[in-house]
Subunit: 341 residues, 2 copies
DNA sequence: ATTAGCACTCACATCGATCGAGTGCTAACA
DNA sequence: TGTTAGCACTCGATCGATGTGAGTGCTAAT
């Protein structure tokens, strides 16, 4: 357990360092009005904090910077969410423009959050695993191509085009569609291939002319590839952070961001609620030099998505926490009103 | 008109500079086996070329680098497409994996092209201006929300969710859908709002209960917002180029890329066929320090899209031209077979 | 017309000196 | 015993001097 004094100095150092990105020295601290101690005393405290691995030096005679453990302590024990009314108002105001389109809202949120923080925002769309099929629509576009459209009970629309043998007639396609709708409605997406085989195959055999070919097509269309989508906002904003002054870091960062699968993995693994993973606490190699803050939003009882902010470990945790909380609430409120009352 | 000798030297300088990114001096050139001249003679030729504004110096005693005008001359008069069989094979091979989904193909192409060149690829989806409506589908998701799905004759699927007054019954929605399909089929997307008013409004008034509210909703759903989509590939690749060694340039570059509207403008304005805009030849301020190479692909008789490559003005024009040609052909071939035979 | 020779330019790298912010330690002090 | 003043020391950053090398333009000889 830390003493009051240690706590005060640790907090002040971290606050200052987050602000300036420069190591903090004892002399500078002694001038802080909230600390009425000589620089020598402060040095002693600093040495103690360094022994506890909460602070570090960049070289033997430099000022102190927080270690990752220091940030962790800061996040867990020190900070209290500091709501800046002004920014909250911006969020409320922007989100109030009634929009209904999910993609639009999410993209706007990503851009907004990024703009308010100067970090990069990544939003993970809802995972539709529990969604069930509401309707199938088959539309013939030309002699040889057709589009299959799946609508889920969550309002999500998925579509795939496929080639259709010219021997299949329009009416046959319609017949097929009826069978599918009849048998597959309310079936969870993940179960579609199985139900297709157990319930639909026999029917197709009976009623559809070219059933073998068609079955193959339909099966591939209905095989739900995990289509969780990712929305990125403010990729360039983060370049303003001084830690991105050399190209290598930038390269690493963008390579990571481009790896969609990695990002999906990363975000889905985080538990719900606001959570911070600082530097090496992160599992994946690529993100070990950054901090990842995630929060979650709710679309309905089954569907949740994630909002994430990626930035340097020297991050304005205080501000970020409150902003993300506000934004997640706002998004949830739009799609799933009054859930958190 | 340039003399043979001037041509040779100009070409060699540009080729070398594209390769190394370092200014080229007369001594280095005199050692090139294809140039049998002393360095002094070469210096004279260089001075001439500089007078013609085809070459530049970075400082008074530096070697020469191509000016933008020099690149333009190089592109227009010197280079002949140099097909590297190996890379062409890669393209053919990758594109052969039969995929049908447009988005997938396009994204893959963008990544591929970027990987082969180390520049950033931007692909503009087809502009659907001439597309006509094939089918409308209204699906009720919950008490208060519904999804409208539009399918075009080109196989493009667009969907929007909207709130529906709880007073509207399921059957009413179906009635409405039938009216819409009856009256709007084969109407060009851009004309939808007009046809809606002239043909559908009266019918709705007659047959639909809450026609006023519904008309507003339907109108907003059918108002086609230019949804031309953009696919970006290899954002991080370009960081390998030595001209991106300072953060400011990187920042400018990514800010430009993030501005989707700008990119759409930029690409749509380019005429069809392969085309290069070098540095200041570009209209928009943001891209004046880069070169933009565009090519076009064909989805059908009416729909074309654009492929673009953005990189430093020092770009491997030769390689890029042939690769882009090959890739556009390949994409066109997938969607619109045998059009260019 | 071409080339050798030469004086000159300028970016770039290296080196040393200096500066200053910072530390740890010790001894004096309340 | 906890706090502070003082001091020697460390190390990054900055600056100027200096040398080097790749390059040029010009002139005179071939």
């Amino acid at each position: 357990m830390l003493t009051e004094r240690q706590l005060l100095i640790l907090q002040t150092i971290i606050d200052n360092f987050i602000d300036t990105a420069h190591p903090i020295g004892s002399r500078a601290l002694s001038k802080d009005e909230s600390i009425q101690l000589s620089s020598a005393t402060i040095r002693n405290v600093m040495a103690d904090l360094e022994d506890m691995a909460l602070l570090e030096k960049t070289h033997s005679s430099s000022g102190r910077i927080p270690s990752e453990k220091g940030y962790r302590y800061y996040v867990d024990h020190i900070i209290t969410p500091k709501m800046k009314q002004k920014e909250l108002n911006i969020i409320k105001h922007v989100m109030q423009n009634k929009m209904v389109d999910f993609e639009q809202i999410v993209q706007l949120s990503a851009d907004l959050l990024s703009q308010l923080t100067n970090y990069t925002t990544v939003i993970l769309g809802p995972n539709d695993m529990d969604a069930t099929l509401k309707q199938v629509q088959l539309v013939k576009i030309s002699d040889t191509t057709a589009v299959a459209i799946l609508v889920t009970n969550t309002g999500h629309v998925e579509h795939k085009s496929f080639t259709v043998p010219s021997t299949i007639s329009m009416s046959e396609l319609e017949k097929l569609m009826n069978i599918l709708n009849d048998r597959l409605q309310n079936v969870p997406l993940v179960q579609l291939p199985y139900t297709l085989q157990s319930e639909v195959y026999a029917l197709m055999e009976k009623h559809i002319h070219n059933y073998e070919v068609m079955y193959d097509y339909i099966q591939s269309v209905l095989t739900y590839d995990d289509s969780t989508k990712i929305y990125v906002g403010g990729q360039s904003n983060i370049l303003m952070q001084p830690e991105f002054k050399d190209v290598e870091k930038i390269y690493d960062f963008y390579t990571m961001l481009e790896n969609e699968q990695l990002m999906i993995d990363l975000l889905s693994k985080q538990s719900e609620g606001i959570q911070a993973s600082i530097g090496n606490e992160n599992e994946h190699e690529a993100i070990k030099h950054f901090s990842l803050i995630t929060s979650s939003y709710k679309l309905n009882d089954n569907q949740t998505g994630k909002i994430a902010l990626i930035g340097p470990t020297r991050m304005e945790y205080r501000k970020v926490f409150s902003l993300m909380q506000a934004l997640s609430d706002e998004i949830s409120e739009i799609f799933y009103p009054h859930s958190n009352e």
